[in-house]
Amino acid sequence: MRYSLKEEIKNFSFVLPALSIFFFFYIIPFIYTFFLALHQGSGLSSLKFVGLENFKRILSPQGTAIIVIFIGGILVVFSFWFKKKIKNRFLKIVKTASIIMGIICIIYGIKELGEVLSSGWVIDKEWWASVGRSFYITLWALTFQNFLAFALALCVDKAIRTGYIYRAIFFLLPVISEIIFGLLIRSLLLPYPGVLAHFLKKLGLENLVRDWLNDPRYALTTLAFVHCWRGFGWGFVILLAGLQTIPQTLYEAARIDGAGAWQRFIKITLPLMLPVIVLVVILTILGTVQVIGLPMVLTRGGPAGKTTVSVLRIYNDLKNYHAGYASCEGIVLGIILITLSFTLIKISNRLKKV
């Protein structure tokens, strides 16, 4: 059924409001990020074009050159792979353009590498330290938070009558915003008035008392714990939903065949829960690396910057009028995250086939 142009325009108008908002608030900023990353300064008037300077600062000049060569190589290889599919002129133009751009990248990269190979290796250590802190917290989240969530889900799965009460309680914490929770825990943890310290002393656990928020040695781990404590409700609900899709008959059959609880867990629960576990892992990584609210209110970036995580660093750079550099950091972090999730999905697909 062919529609007239007038009909088509009327149909299209339904998606127009969404598309316009999406265009102005997502597409344009997305493209603008790359534009900004090649500039320094902040605000439309004070931008100065600096080419790959920002990237050189983050990845070291040598690293940038190597990556440029790498991108060039990918472009050339990709366009030759495209050879089979040249159907219309548009793709032909794309293919030629990418070959040309690829070769330019390789030549430029090699030239840069030659110039820069002899000089020292300068890299923005603070930035990579902040990325490391984000991943440190993520590590805690993947272990403590998700193990706790899984353990609780397993317990609640068996407690059928009172299960929904626990589900309600545990999911309450993620529903409360991280700001409220962070400020609440901060009030408990501060050395003055020292509420938690007093509580521990009364329990006789005085040697556990530390300056959790202000001691550079413990601040980051404290932040990780608070984040995990708030976040386990998410994993709990998703894992519980997954557990409840496993039919009880499988467990019954296994019990009749004489399998113990541990065996039932390893042979039935884990394999069937694998997709859900992978989903929770990916969501945890993506969510935890980008955390910013909790560090900001719990430790304000921490004693001597020890809890400045990656996105907090980007925000601080924006506030200090380094919008270009902040964009560049964002791009680097985004690429890391995309690569990670891509790899995880590929691994999980391979595991599913087993």
């Binding site: 325009i9 609780l152 400020l183 408990l188 969501l283 996105v311 972090l333």
Partner: protein, 268 residues
């Protein structure tokens, strides 16, 4: 096993009980008993301080405005888009849908950086409308996906009947589709209302005028203000004001809320 569950449950709830308890006593009493004893006499002054001096009343009102406007906006815009992507034909339909999907999948950690520069250039920085539009954008991809899949599974009978009766597209949408989409709308409303209410980073970046700030950013301001830094009970009163509505709504509707939010998350 049950002790484990009960221990964790108590550790979750206890901070909130402590928070409410401490907010009802004067700061001096709090400093001496650490908030672990019931107040000698219930005092509401902390709430007054938080509400007026700490401006929590203004922040609260702002949050309500932003949440309401954004959620209504998302429901209208996303249901229109979802309906057209599902039932209407036009060029580029597939491309546009995959565009929205891709936006959901690609993590943009520093999304607020170009948004800040661009909004400043247009002059929408520090305005209510700028923030509401940004909030609508945040929830757009997921909501459109939810609506489209819902409409895909909707039987066409009522729609066809309305078309035979002579309704044009817009009237079909308003009178037939939207009422039928109530389940999807419920999920969209719950998910987005929670997201906008708890949103922090964009509000922090966009607003510099205290009177326009929503609740979360306002709390941060309050906590770093002289009052918030010294008067702990006032701060806790502020936190109670901020969290009690959510806790109450959550307890009433938790089944729906959990269903709605996990539906939203599992899509991703």
């Amino acid at each position: 096993m049950h002790t484990f569950l009960i221990l964790v449950a108590i550790s979750c709830i206890f901070p909130f009980i402590w928070m409410i308890n401490s907010s009802l006593k004067p700061n001096s009493e709090f400093l001496s008993d650490y908030g672990f004893r019931l107040p000698h006499k219930i005092m509401w002054k902390n709430y007054y301080i938080a509400f007026c001096e700490g401006k929590l009343g203004i922040y609260f009102l702002n949050s309500i405005i932003y949440t309401f406007v954004s959620v209504v906006g998302i429901v209208l815009v996303a249901s229109l888009a979802g309906y057209s992507l599902s039932r209407l034909q036009f060029r580029g339909k597939n491309f546009i849908f995959h565009l929205f999907l891709a936006a959901m999948m690609i993590p943009t950690p520093a999304g607020f950086v170009p948004l800040y520069v661009l909004l400043k250039a247009i002059g929408l920085l520090n305005t209510r409308i700028g923030y509401c539009l940004a909030m609508i954008n945040v929830g757009l991809s997921l909501s459109i996906y939810l609506y489209k899949t819902f409409f895909d599974n909707l039987p066409r009978d009522l729609e066809d009947a309305a078309r035979i009766d002579g309704c044009n597209r817009l009237r079909i949408w308003w009178h037939v589709i939207l009422p039928l989409a109530k389940p999807a709308t419920a999920v969209v409303v719950i998910f987005n209302a929670l997201n906008v209410w708890n949103e922090f980073v964009l509000a922090l970046v966009i607003f510099s005028n205290r009177n326009l700030m929503p609740l979360q950013v306002g709390l941060k301001e309050f906590a770093s203000s002289p009052v918030g830094l010294t008067n702990y009970t006032a701060l806790l009163a502020g936190l109670t004001i901020a969290s009690l509505p959510i806790i109450i709504i959550y307890l009433i509707m938790q089944k729906h809320i959990i269903k709605g939010i996990t539906a939203g998350a599992l899509v991703g």
